[in-house]
């Protein structure tokens, strides 16, 4: 058991490093180089080459590329992700202020989508030969194709601006007032969980359908096991694996979704931060967010693999 975990961790470490390399390489796409970008686009003729060279030396940009990568990685591991071009604050400070609202949205959406999407998926598997099952499948197919930012605009517009049930913009932190916080966060979470819920519903549905076709279920029916017990055993056992594999995928998708939903609902999270940083050409912050997201997704994948290895006896036996 421990061997499996260590093996998975060992094979994931290079993966995580590779994603950091991808993020690091982004800065070399900057036209003109990182220093010119830092000084701003209009400084082309005004700053002498000597000054640029001096800045490069000060920032350590005159070293070789692998050395720069190593330096950047080391400081990143120590919590130093650079300084924002726009606000001159350390990137970690900027990101730290913004992480909590985003996490609230993402975790909330995950919970809601697991509960609702999971329930719908199990239902559609049970009713797979009936109209209701097919209707659920069609509905989830449609839900997957709906762009979440469109739903957000409609929800904010109709429920927020027109009917005034929920606030269309704004955010109250948990530390200030839990009630108002939940009030401001409901619409974004609902919108985010629609797409992820449909995704999960389909996964669970197909996992359960293939489980329900197995001979042992037929034996259970024949032995007179009550219906709800058969479904419960099938549902619980076979829904766990897809949910665990689904969580890192959903997290990645939700991060993309929060970028837009936060912008629409004006929630001060990582999403609005990355958008304003792109508009302000504040590259270190963008790079910081991309790095954070990439590493988080890789770590979540690793955790999901380990948990699956614990739960699924087949994988344990296969690895042994």
């Amino acid at each position: 058991m421990l061997r499996i975990i260590l093996l998975r961790v060992a094979t994931s470490i290079p993966t995580i490093f590779l994603s950091t390399i991808v993020v690091f390489a982004l800065r070399y796409l900057l036209p003109g180089g990182p220093v010119e970008a830092m000084l701003g686009g209009g400084s082309a003729g005004q700053v002498s080459a000597k000054q640029i060279a001096a800045i490069k030396a000060r920032l350590g940009l005159d070293a070789s590329v692998p050395a720069q990568y190593w330096h950047w990685l080391r400081s990143a591991l120590h919590g130093d992700l650079g300084t924002s071009y726009y606000s001159q604050e350390p990137v970690t400070t900027v990101l730290g202020q913004r992480v909590v609202p985003s996490l609230e949205l993402i975790v909330g959406a995950l919970v809601v989508s697991i509960l609702v999407g999971g329930g719908l998926g199990i239902l559609s598997a049970i009713k797979r030969d009936r109209v209701s099952g097919r209707v659920i499948l069609l509905g989830t197919g449609l839900g997957l194709s709906v762009p979440d930012f469109w739903l957000a605009t409609i929800a904010a517009g109709v429920l927020g601006l027109t009917l005034n049930i929920f606030p269309a913009v704004g955010f109250t932190a948990i530390s200030e007032d839990l009630g108002r916080n939940l009030h401001t966060v409901t619409l974004p979470i609902v919108v985010l969980s629609i797409v992820t819920g449909c995704f999960l519903a389909r996964h669970i549905s197909s996992a359960m359908i293939s489980a329900l076709e197995c001979p042992y279920i037929r034996t259970a029916w024949a032995m007179g096991v009550p219906g709800w017990k058969v479904y419960l055993i099938c549902a619980l056992r076979n829904a766990v694996a897809p949910v665990i594999t689904f969580i890192p995928l959903a997290f990645a998708g939700l991060v993309g979704g929060t970028v837009l939903v936060e912008t629409i609902f004006a929630i001060p999270g990582l999403g609005t931060e990355i958008v304003t940083s792109v508009t302000n050409e504040d590259f270190p912050v963008v790079q910081g967010v991309v790095l954070l997201v990439g590493v988080l997704v890789a770590v979540l994948n690793l955790l999901a693999d380990v948990v699956l290895a614990f739960i699924d006896p087949r994988m344990r036996r296969a690895a042994a």
Binding site: P14, V259, V293, A298, N301
Partner: protein, 319 residues
């Protein structure tokens, strides 16, 4: 040999027949040979129960029709009898639906309906760029990994794993931040980040072929691995690759619209579903249709592409 789950006398006939070495012809189903043995058959072969894979399906057919219509609209847009999408009628800003403007006008008086039709162009252009870059990178990658030695294969697959669940939108935003707003750059980045899935599919199609005897013989006769890859692996791999491509293409459409929504896509005033939606949202209470229409277009486009993928999967992938 007798099946371990045979329930006694009913199946004894078939089991005994097989034991005795009699061949049971493939199209003589056991149900015909031995009455009451339908339970031996898989669920989808039992008499009186329709096939599990229901063919292409009604929803995918509808999706195909809609997709074809949208493609036609994007190609034929200039010759259709609709308004110029860039023409502004400033006296009619945020107007509601009328006979002339079927879906009303947007905040500077442009016809929403024609902007939705013209928006198909940038949407499909974005999807095409992303799909092409995904396939150009993914297919050789997977083939190379499938036909290479273990070490090279392992390295290539590790790189694939690193990129596998990276959120495409975030990377596209990162690329735009470095290179400036440009649909080509961002959609190429999106395609590149989605290529590991295709690489994996091709690798798993290549692995069983790699050890086959005919491949060893062909190799010893001097046939290059490239030729084997193209002639024998690619045709088998096309089915899952096609299904996967349609599934992600709908996602690419949404990403293209999302980038447009954030102002990071096609530069204005070109018609783009996402950007039009963002502009119209500022006036949502006054003119909801200008926000709803582009969104409906995105939903319809994405749904048609993904149902085509569903239909292809039920036809191409053997149960």
């Amino acid at each position: 040999m007798p099946r371990s789950d045979s329930a006694g006398g009913k199946d004894a006939g078939l089991a005994a027949a097989l034991d005795a070495g009699e061949t049971v012809l493939p199209d003589a189903t056991p149900a015909e040979v031995v009455p009451g043995s339908q339970l031996l058959l898989p669920a989808w072969r039992r008499p009186g129960r329709e096939s599990r894979t229901r063919g292409f399906g009604l929803a995918p057919k509808i999706g195909l029709v809609i997709f074809a219509m949208l493609l036609l609209a994007s190609v034929l847009a200039p010759v259709l009898p609709i308004d110029d999408p860039l023409a502004q009628t400033l006296s009619l800003r945020n107007a509601g639906a009328s006979l002339h403007h079927l879906l009303g006008t947007d905040l500077i008086g442009r016809d929403v309906f024609s902007r939705v039709i013209y928006g198909c162009r940038s949407a499909f252009e974005g999807v095409a760029i992303a799909v092409i870059s995904m396939l150009i990178l993914g297919i050789p990658w997977g083939l190379a990994a499938g036909f290479s030695a273990t070490v090279v294969d392992e390295i290539l697959m590790r790189i694939a794993d690193a990129m596998l669940s990276f959120p495409a939108l975030i990377l596209a935003i990162g690329v735009v931040s470095a290179l400036g707003p440009s649909m080509v750059h961002s959609m190429v980045a999106v395609g590149v980040i989605s290529s590991p899935a295709i690489a994996r599919l091709l690798r798993s199609a290549a692995l069983p072929v790699r050890g086959a005897q005919f491949v060893l013989i062909a190799g010893s006769l001097g046939v290059s691995r490239f030729r084997i890859a193209v002639r024998h692996v690619l045709p088998n791999a096309m089915a899952p690759v096609l299904v996967q491509t349609f599934a992600v293409a709908s996602y690419f459409l949404i990403i293209e619209a999302a980038l447009g929504f954030l102002g990071l896509g096609v530069p204005p005033p070109a018609p783009s579903w996402g950007q039009d939606m963002a502009n119209a949202y500022l006036n949502f209470t006054a003119n909801p249709s200008a926000t709803i229409a582009p969104g409906l277009a995105i939903t319809t486009g994405a749904w048609s592409i993904s149902t085509i993928g569903d239909g292809l999967r039920s036809v191409l992938v053997r149960a």
